[in-house]
Point group: C2
Chain length 425, copies 2
């Protein structure tokens, strides 16, 4: 006798949730996908939206459109408030939702560590509204620099501090450096750009800690070639709105602190306390089942399967989430047939990051390379990963314009940045 699984509820339309729902298309299972936004967004290119290289519409795609032809997949835009595991139900902004099986694919959120008390003063990159805020903030500051009457040092208005030397930090630093070099002299000829420093602070001894030595070393060279001041072993200690201070007592005056120094899981309320482990992630077994809540699964960034080999769980990467989603779809179908599930085994296809035009680093399993070819591979992989034909074409076109004209197409302050606006976005 096959078990009947009437309803799978997936929370989160990120890489994991979308992949899972896709793999369950047209299967004899009712799937409800929930997200607080009506679109899936391509997180790895968020820094491009922030720096005016791409429009938000190019990296986002309406979730409903992905599942248009699939009658068994339903989407609801809603915020999940809490799960009640004992009753197999969710409390949400659109009422109670019952599930037979629940999949938590809520991803990660910014981790501010010791900067938590000043987080409202920091700029972040985790969502499209955040990226647009960052874009507006930078361009508003350049306008402010033009009319500065000397109350505030020009350096403080123009300087930029980036905290964190992971992929997000170095990609953003590279894009800002190219903007400073190629675009700003044309758009702001009156500004003395020599007063603008871009500093990148990394707490560990190397950039791109998760990548190879070659990638780390080369990305440092690339950033320095672009004029970024990179500080390694540099732990930031405090920020007072105009000066960021380090543990070694040095400091840097700036209005603009961009926080890419860490993420933590974004689990939902109501799970047993024992299920939440280090990094605010949900402990799962090899089938992505939440420990101590058998009808609940967790995939992607929010899930951690702790093993002796991976004492912190796998890194928070899109491919992990996608592979989680794909396997879980198969396992759920196995469950409906009362057959055993298969344990997750991550297949690491490689990691890459780009710093600027013809400057990228790629680590494949057997081959590590950097430079122009790496940059082409990076572009190809990212274009092909965008959802939808229209987005692939428009992003490709914008990058070509950027490459040939040395220009970023989009420097529009569509919605001005205001601090008091931030929580509303």
């Amino acid at each position: 006798m096959a078990k009947e699984i009437s309803k799978i509820v997936i929370i989160g339309a990120g890489f994991g949730g979308i992949e899972l729902a896709k793999a369950l298309r047209n299967k004899p299972i009712e799937v409800l996908l929930i997200d607080q936004h009506n679109y899936h967004n391509f997180q790895p290119l968020m820094y491009q939206v922030a720096t005016g290289g791409l429009e938000p519409g190019s990296i986002a795609y309406p979730v409903r459109r992905i599942f248009r032809r699939n009658k068994n997949v339903t989407f609801r835009m809603a915020e999940v408030q809490e799960v009640v595991p004992t009753e197999n139900k969710l409390l949400t902004s659109i009422g109670e939702i019952r599930y037979d099986y629940l999949v938590i694919a809520t991803g990660s959120q910014n981790n501010f560590f010791n900067f938590e008390p000043v987080k409202d003063q920091l700029l972040t990159l985790k969502s499209i509204p955040e990226a647009l805020n960052l874009r507006s903030f930078i361009f508003q500051n350049l306008e402010k620099a033009l009319t500065n009457t000397g109350d505030e040092p020009l350096e403080e208005i123009m300087n930029i501090a980036i905290v964190g030397g992971g992929p997000a930090g170095i990609e953003l630093a590279g894009a800002l450096a190219e903007m400073k070099r190629y675009v700003l002299p044309k758009d702001f000829p009156e500004l003395d750009l020599s007063k603008m420093s871009i500093n990148l602070y990394e707490a560990s001894p190397k950039l791109l800690a998760a990548m190879s030595e070659e990638a780390s070393a080369k990305s440092l060279v690339y950033l320095q070639q672009l004029g970024i001041n990179v500080f390694l072993n540099a732990r930031v200690q405090s920020y007072d709105g105009s000066k960021i201070a380090l543990e070694d007592n040095t400091s840097f005056r700036t209005d603009t602190v961009i926080w890419t120094a860490g993420v933590k899981g974004a689990p939902i309320k109501g799970l047993p306390q024992s299920a939440i482990i280090g990094g605010n992630r949900i402990a799962v077994n090899e089938y992505n089942q939440v420990i101590a809540a058998e009808r609940i699964f967790a995939i992607g960034d929010v899930a951690a399967h702790v093993t002796p080999e991976e004492p912190k769980g796998l890194p928070m990467l899109a491919p992990v989430a996608q592979q989680h989603g794909k396997l879980l779809a198969k396992n759920i179908i196995q469950l409906t047939k009362d057959r055993p599930m298969k344990a997750f085994d991550y297949s690491d296809k490689g990691v890459m990051a780009t710093i600027g035009r013809r400057k990228a680093v790629v680590d494949l399993k057997v081959w590590k390379f950097q430079g122009t070819f790496a940059w082409l591979v990076w572009m190809f992989v990212h274009i092909m990963s965008l959802v939808g034909f229209r987005n692939k074409i428009v992003a490709f076109f914008d990058w070509m314009v950027n490459y040939f004209t040395y220009d970023r197409p989009l420097g529009l302050i569509i919605r001005p940045y205001r601090r008091e606006n931030k929580p509303l976005d």
Copy 2:
């Protein structure tokens, strides 16, 4: 002896201000262009942003980029608070600005007439943030309709009322009707779209009052073919947030009232009271000089040259503003040479409007036509009018995708609409 004109200040980077500044490029005159936004936007396509046909980045272009190679044109992003004509200076958000000659090109603003007290409940189309609010509002309401538990009639959530049968109103109505017909059945298969009515109210006896009888009649036919309920001679009287009432005591339940019923001039403070005439416009002479303030000019929507033939001044149209700007540039150069200025004479090249795919109306001086060819002409003219190669290509591409797939590419709720957010935008 030539008069020395050291500084022309232009307020507003709309059609008039941009055209004037362009025509003064590389002339021996110092030009300062001021706008509260850092971009010029193409107002006639605002309804496309609102209905998800184009991204904001496609109809906006950074002002600085237009004047990159022109050392005599400077741009400042600032809000003008007041002009002090007796001292030839402006008070602005970035301090005092002195001028030798001032050009007011501030355009128009929504005119709510008897709906002024409820204007915060209305949706409008005059700026990009307003258009994005409208887009978010419509898609949020569709999501709400899906989870409606019956407290509010489904019709009220889904219905749309458009007030005003001018170009903005009918173009928006057509786009919404096509969205309802081609896109919503695919994206919201669970919704009973027969409960969604789109009503358009026009106070006068005909649509497109400024165009020919043929254009008015045909646009009515087109809208009716698309399923829009058009009400002529229909004066709206009140709106209570859920019901719009007409003077004939009929009413229509709807959450969504889009106001395109009128505009008025947007003059700046500090002008002599006698200079402000009907429609809140600034009275100017045949050289666009403000009556009673000889060092101040006004061009575009905000300016009205009243003559026996044009007792209300020329209509508020982009070509009028552009021709004002072009001639004023010549006249200013004449002034610097102490030569006589030339009187403005509007050359009416024609007017056009589009209702939907292969449905448009064009009035040229000697030829009036409607249908597929009119639609092609409309598309060509609008694509070519967008500023920048990138915007032309991306808009063309999005329209082609739209034409061949019957789909609107972009239905993203990037920033949710919230009433309390509105004044901040």
